[in-house]
Amino acid sequence: MSLLRIEEVCKNFGSLRAVRDVSMTVQTGELRAIIGPNGAGKTTFFNLISGFLTPTSGSIEFDGQDITPLMPSRRVSLGVARTFQITEVFPELTVHENLRIPVEVAFGHRLRPWLSRQGDRKVRDRVDELMEMGGLTSKADRLVGELAHGEQRTIEIMMAIGLGPRLLLLDEPAAGMGDQETYDIARLIRSLHHDHKLTIVLIEHDMRVVFNLADRIMVLAQGTMLAEGTPREIAANDAVQAAYLGTAK
């Protein structure tokens, strides 16, 4: 069953055609990677899915519902969560508070001026669970701005998970990370995908991560789709080799 169906979306910035007639269908439970050289339109494409930008034309369907005109906050409440290429967290709040905010939004508490003892406990339990999943328990009371880059990336992913999404969009989760951190984050993503059956779409430049994790890969180049297929098919694709992998080697 398809969870996300994108039909021929285009996005123009003035005369620049950043994304041209790209279609993509993601099945429930799939892990889809989007790769492509810099300036291929990957992040723009992502921004169209999450509602950061609205497409010039084309449509985006999530779980059978047309979400093309919806605001980001509506898309979140339907179950679309994202992270950003440049880490977006709440630096002057603690790890606990960073995770608490999305959990409270997910529980429908965002306008509440108070929580019952029971409601508060449920929120805390969920936050503890998230901290444990991300290996952050010992850092609960630290300010996020003081933590290492890799930990901040993990926190950002756990914040998105705190929303209880059905589709997780990760924009270059391993960007700027060392080998160990890349390995850890890849393991976290794999666990979210395998153990928690989360549908994930990610953009990534690190080919080890992409080819290890992805069920299917889509290649974008100059705003259009160059190829789509399993990691094996993509690795064997001549056009991809020429346009992207060849130049990268």
């Binding site: 980001p72 979140v76 994202r82 977006e88 709040l93 905010i101 409270e104 965002r110 306008l111 001026p113």
Partner: protein, 317 residues
């Protein structure tokens, strides 16, 4: 809990000092009316800081709602033969309704654009008060009225002649307003405001409708500023058009920054410093404002987190 106790101790000291102010302020060379003025200004600065320090939205137009509170209470007593409490109620409602409507028009703006538009709307109210002589008293302000005793049924509270009674009258409102703001800041709603302050984009993509939450924060902030304005009118038995002007808005911002806008009590400290300095310096020189300005510059240069922010850092390290 061990980590919480210095904070709780500090809260207790603040409340104790405020609760006993009329008994020690005289001995330090002050007077009870000055204490009431500190409370009123602190309430206004703390209300502004709900928006500025905890939502990250800068308004240079809060004097408008402060002034509406003052004129609301003055006009109700003067023209409608209202009482002190009904006047206060009218003042707060007028301020809050104006803020609610204006807020709808401006919450999509950010940063300097938001600040500029708040000034513009503030000046509209200032010019109405300034020009509409027959009703508002124009440049001379709205005088010829004064606060009235509060009838509690079994007894009546004489806040007219007794400055001490009036101080505690203000203090009751101060407690309620500050408690509500503190409560809200610790709630799920309050955390969404912190989220917006820290990173608006992240907040938006955590499913928080940012504009709507900023509107609510603005409304709560203006509501309590109107309350402070109403109390200010009662304090002086007078509504002054300058209380509506944008330089008054600037004074609220100065108080918050001076004391420390990231500390809950920072604006209280800032307001106390400002009011006391003003009272003291203005008895010495006409140019007292330059000295306050100089003091403000020094604070911002050397203690960017304000007086209380500095003290807290010192204690933490």
């Amino acid at each position: 809990m061990a980590k919480l106790s210095p904070k709780l101790a500090f809260d207790a000291v603040v409340w104790l000092l405020l609760a006993t102010m009329p008994f020690w302020l005289d001995r330090l060379g002050g007077y009870t009316q000055l204490g009431s003025q500190i409370l009123v200004m602190a309430l206004a600065a703390m209300a502004l800081n709900f928006l500025l320090g905890y939502t990250g939205v800068l308004s240079f137009g809060h004097a408008a709602y402060f002034g509406l509170g003052a004129y609301g209470v003055g006009m109700t007593i003067k023209y409608l033969a209202g009482g002190t409490l009904s006047g206060l109620l009218v003042g707060v409602l007028v301020g809050a309704v104006a803020a609610a409507v204006i807020g709808l028009l401006i919450v999509h703006l950010r940063g300097i654009y938001f600040a500029m538009v708040t000034i513009a709307f503030g000046q509209v109210f200032y010019f109405i008060a300034f020009r509409w002589n027959t009703v508002t008293g124009g440049d001379d302000g709205l005088s010829g009225w004064h606060r009235l005793p509060i009838d509690l049924g079994f007894t009546s509270l004489d806040i007219v002649k007794s400055q001490t009674a009036f101080y505690y009258f203000v203090f009751v409102f101060f407690i309620i307003a500050v408690a509500i703001m503190a409560w809200l800041l610790r709630s799920p709603f309050g955390r969404t405001l912190l989220a917006i302050r820290e990173n608006e984009r992240r907040a938006r993509f955590l499913g928080i409708p940012v504009d709507r939450h900023i509107w609510l924060s603005w409304l709560i902030s203006c509501f309590f500023v109107s309350l402070a304005g109403g109390l200010y009118g009662l304090l002086n038995n007078f509504a002054d058009p300058h209380a509506l002007r944008w330089d008054q808005s600037g004074i609220f911002v100065i108080m918050a920054v001076l004391g420390g806008m990231r500390s809950f009590w920072g604006p209280l400290v800032g307001a106390a410093i400002y009011v006391v300095l003003q009272d003291y310096l203005s008895s010495l020189t006409q140019n007292w404002m330059s000295f306050i300005g100089l003091f403000f510059i020094l604070i911002v240069l050397f203690f960017p987190r304000g007086v209380l922010g500095f003290v807290r850092r010192r204690l933490a390290s």
